[in-house]
Symmetry: C2
Subunit: 198 residues, 2 copies
């Protein structure tokens, strides 16, 4: 499942357990998510990780390569969330289980959601991360198809888009609804539902 022959045990890591390199990457994710890539300085990352700027440069070379590491982490999280679903039952059930795992993973990773929202919705972005997630979704789809578990008449592109919007579309718009409702002094905001129509 993971790339490691000796997989890490599923023990929640204490901050002290992490290497400085991992702490830097995690701090970068949190800060990029909160203040954006441009709005985050290498010094801020270093401070948040409890190290000096020099060490950040030492480990990642440039700010851009630090961002690459952050995006690798996100893609890995999606990969693990979907790969842990066994290929048994109907294609529909497997897809639903994958969606559930991704939703659960994102629910406990606010920073990832915020980072994704910033990056994917950015019209200026090169779209690398979105494409990587799309490729992952397509590969998952292909796996079902190879097992003869899907008989959708929709194209791959359309199915992938449907999966992605289902997995993350709602997360992107929900804050807007929440803030609007809160602005009028109400709580218990309604849920956003995103669908694809042809």
């Amino acid at each position: 499942m993971t790339a490691y022959p000796h997989a890490m045990p599923a023990v929640p890591a204490r901050p002290d357990d992490l290497t400085a390199k991992a702490r830097i990457r995690n701090a970068a994710l949190a800060l990029f998510a909160g203040g954006g890539y441009d709005g985050t300085t290498m010094r801020a990352v270093a401070t948040a990780a409890g190290v000096t700027v020099g060490l950040v440069v030492h480990h990642y070379g440039t700010k851009e390569r630090l961002r690459d590491a952050v995006e690798d982490l996100i893609v890995a999280a999606f990969t693990e969330a979907t790969a842990s679903v066994k290929i048994v039952g109907s294609g529909r059930d497997i897809g639903a289980a994958r969606d559930r795992n991704v939703a659960q993973m994102l629910a406990s990773n606010t920073a990832m959601v915020d980072y994704l929202r910033r990056t994917i919705l950015d019209p200026n972005d090169r779209g690398v991360l979105l494409n990587r997630l799309a490729d992952l979704a397509a590969a998952n789809l292909q796996e079902l198809r190879a097992a003869g578990l899907t008989a959708s008449r929709r194209s791959t592109a359309e199915q992938v888009a449907a999966v992605l919007t289902a997995q993350i579309g709602q997360l992107f718009l929900q804050p807007m609804v929440d803030r609007t409702v809160t602005h009028f002094g109400e709580s218990d905001p309604p849920r956003i539902v995103v669908r694809l129509e042809r």
Copy 2:
């Protein structure tokens, strides 16, 4: 309708017709939309507007006040789009006509859409612009209510959230779908539909 006693004629303005102050504001909108507020320099705004940095400062004082002017322009566009609908017919029809006008206004204003997406979805944003648009929608709703044209059992907050998501929610997510579909070499992407559920 407009604040001007002698309203401007509905003639599309040529760039040369605009004052430098307006050109600066328009350039700022386009650049903020494309590269974000932080990612846009005063020098870039000046160059895009065909003036010097000094003049930008002369007219707007600070970068933040330049952003205020940009947001004023957006709120004015929403105001005019909704105010031009006469209060005749059913409340539902009036609401639909307003939505149509806003959609049309946004369709011809890519920069505004991009700016709104950036600003409203930014979790770090103070939410001023979203609140102004929410207040505008609420005022429009109140207008219908005062005329006895609406009998919704939904709260104001919920109705406003519904209006805003209908007006701009789809515009925010559509680029993601478009890019995903394009990534797989297809054209004719499906449409996003956003709904509120309780």
